[in-house]
Each structure stands twice: as C-alpha cells, then as structure tokens.
Symmetry: C2
Subunit: 205 residues, 2 copies
C-alpha cells in the first residue's frame, strides 16, 4: 500500500500544528509545516524571506513579483515564466509535497496538501478548528501575541488561509467535503485530537 | 458529571443512523431516532402519521396546519396556540429531547438536538457525511431505493434536513462550527466511525 499521508488543515490558533507534530511523533513519521518553506526555498532558489511572507497567502503580491528578481538566489525561478510569485511558490510547494508523499509516510500541515494529494491512494485529510475565544486564548499563550486587537488578528489570519486555499483549489476552506475528519480542538483537547487521529491511522493498518 | 449525550447529525445515506445505533449498543446506552416520533406523538396527542410526514421538515405545511384538527388525538395540542404544526412538533421534540438528556446518557439522531442541548454540560455533537456517490450506493442498499432519480432524491433529502435545521437554529447545517467532530463515513467506514466515537466517549470518562 502507498505511504500513509496525513494532511492537516487548521484554523489559526486551533493547535493544528501542535496536533500534527505530536501525531507524527507518536506514529514515528516525518512532519512538515514551516519545514516546507525551507525545502521549497532551497529547491526553487527563491529567498526564504520572500517565501515566509507569501506562504499561504493568495495572489495579491504584485510587489513581490516585481522585486523577485532582486531576491532570487538561483536561476531556477526563471523556469516558471511570467507568473506571479504566489503561483511560483504554489507550484514549487506542490512539487515538493508530491515528492515527499511519494517517498515516505508523513504529516503535512496546510498549504492545500489535501487538494494537491487528492489522487493519493492512502491519504487522510484532517481539519482542526475551535471557537474563536479558545483560539484567542491559545494564540496569546502559544505565540505570545498580546495585541488588544487579537480577535481581529486571529480572524484575519483565517481569512488569509481561506483565500489562499479557495484560490488554488476552487474549493471552500473548512468545508467538511474537503476532509475525512474534522475535530474541534477546543472541545476535544489537543491530546484528545491526537489520540483520535492516532487510533484512526493505526486501525487502518 | 451530567449524563453523557451524543447528538448525531447526518447527510442522507451517510450511515449516521447505523453509526448511532452501533455506538449506543457498544456504550450500553439508549438510542433515539424515529423513536422520538413515537414518544412525541404520544406525549403531544398529534397523530404519528402527521409527525412522520412533518418530521425534520421546515415550516411549509399550511395543509398540515389546516388538517391538524382532524388528526389530533388529544386536546394537548391546543396548548400550543396559533402556530404551525411544524413549530408545534419542534416544540414537542425540544421538550422531549431536553427531558431525555436530563434523565440518562443517550445517543440522539437529528432533530436539531445539538442546538437544543447547546447548554448541556456534557454533550458531544457529531456530524456524519460522505461523498454523494457513496451515499447513493448506501441508499440503494440500505433503504432499497432503486429509483433512477436516486441522486436527486438523496440531495433533496439533504436539502429538507438543511432547511429544517437552518430554520430552527439560525445556523448552517453541516458547518463544522456546530459540531465537535465530523466524520466522512465513506472514507473511514461505518465501523471506523463507531470506533473513533467510542474511543472519544470512553477517553472522556
């Protein structure tokens, strides 16, 4: 059977990243989140700084497209022709996600991995969410964000992820039909979610 | 701690009813689906035939309202005053669901139970879904529906449930924010869903 892949989409502050990491540890498999940026930057020659800024944001980056020539650290980027930097980054990440999924079992966070791997024969697509109050609490604790506009920040972060996902997949971020299991981390707890996902994966073996 | 209640919303043909029944059996607790109609009919004096027809349908039933006098089998119905038969039935079912949840642990299928029990301190809200092809297959197998318009029938059944839910709760049927866990029975299997829910409930004890 093909490598077991688990993709995890997540609302900002829902703990999706922590759940993904813990799950990968328990299953003894690789975990990719921000790591994808490092790999993609290395493979594409696009500066990691640019990657970080554009990562999971939809195409509104004329500025980035204009300055890309200044930051590209190799000539590979020119292979992508006259498309926006966002599209370039999406293509690079798509190639990398496909390659990683073909290599070994892993957990991949965000970056439309559920959509990119839609034809993969052994992929479980997960979405982690929670009510906004719980996510604010987590964001303040986990990321040390103390802004008085924290609610706006959390919701704006979701909106960016939704725009990115909807733009590149033509589907609706957070709609059940895109995922095989959706978990409310506020009600079930971080470890509760990890336990459920671990059982799901091990039961399939 | 208050009684453990599990509410299960479900797309038509997703196997939600079967999952609910199996889960209740494994946990050794009561299960209510169509049983609610029998109880509600008995307690309200509204004919079970009327109940069956109006159950989980939104208020479009002028006809039922007009004929209710002919079918009511007791005078209790007059307590509800000049409201539609759908509203009467929703109120009766609300009272019964609240009473059942206060009495003992149970699994309740559909009928906006997640919303009705929104202030219950120990309630897990579940939604079961699947892709439409899988649901058509199940509907043909489980309910022996062989119509050539089966897809239309499945989607129309969902629409009725959605209208009912949205009308009485002001929320969107099948949107993750209403539930604590959403499971794709097509990908995870009926027993796979039961296993996950059983683990979720037993881990909380």
């Amino acid at each position: 059977m093909a490598n077991q892949i688990i993709t995890i989409g997540r609302q900002f502050g829902s703990g999706g990243r922590t759940i993904a990491k813990k799950l990968a540890e328990r299953l003894g498999i690789k975990y990719y989140d921000k790591e994808l940026i490092t790999i993609a930057a290395k493979e594409s020659g696009i500066s990691p700084d640019i990657f970080e800024k554009v990562d999971e944001e939809a195409a509104n980056s004329l500025l980035y497209s204009m300055v890309i020539g200044m930051y590209a650290t190799s000539s590979r980027i020119t292979n992508y022709g006259e498309i926006s930097i966002n599209d370039k980054i999406f293509r690079v990440q798509t190639e990398i996600i496909e390659k990683l999924a073909g290599k070994e079992p892993c957990v991949i966070v965000g970056r439309c991995a559920d959509y990119i791997l839609r034809d993969h024969p052994n992929c479980i697509n997960v979405f982690i969410y929670s009510n906004v109050e719980e996510r604010i609490r987590r964001a303040m604790e986990e990321y040390n964000i103390q802004s008085k506009n924290i609610k706006e920040f959390v919701l704006k972060s979701d909106k960016k992820r939704a725009n990115y996902y909807n733009f590149y997949t033509g589907k609706k971020w957070g709609a059940i039909s895109n995922y095989n299991i959706c978990l409310d981390s506020g009600a079930l707890g971080i470890d509760g979610c990890v336990n459920i996902l671990e059982k799901l994966v091990t039961d399939r073996k």
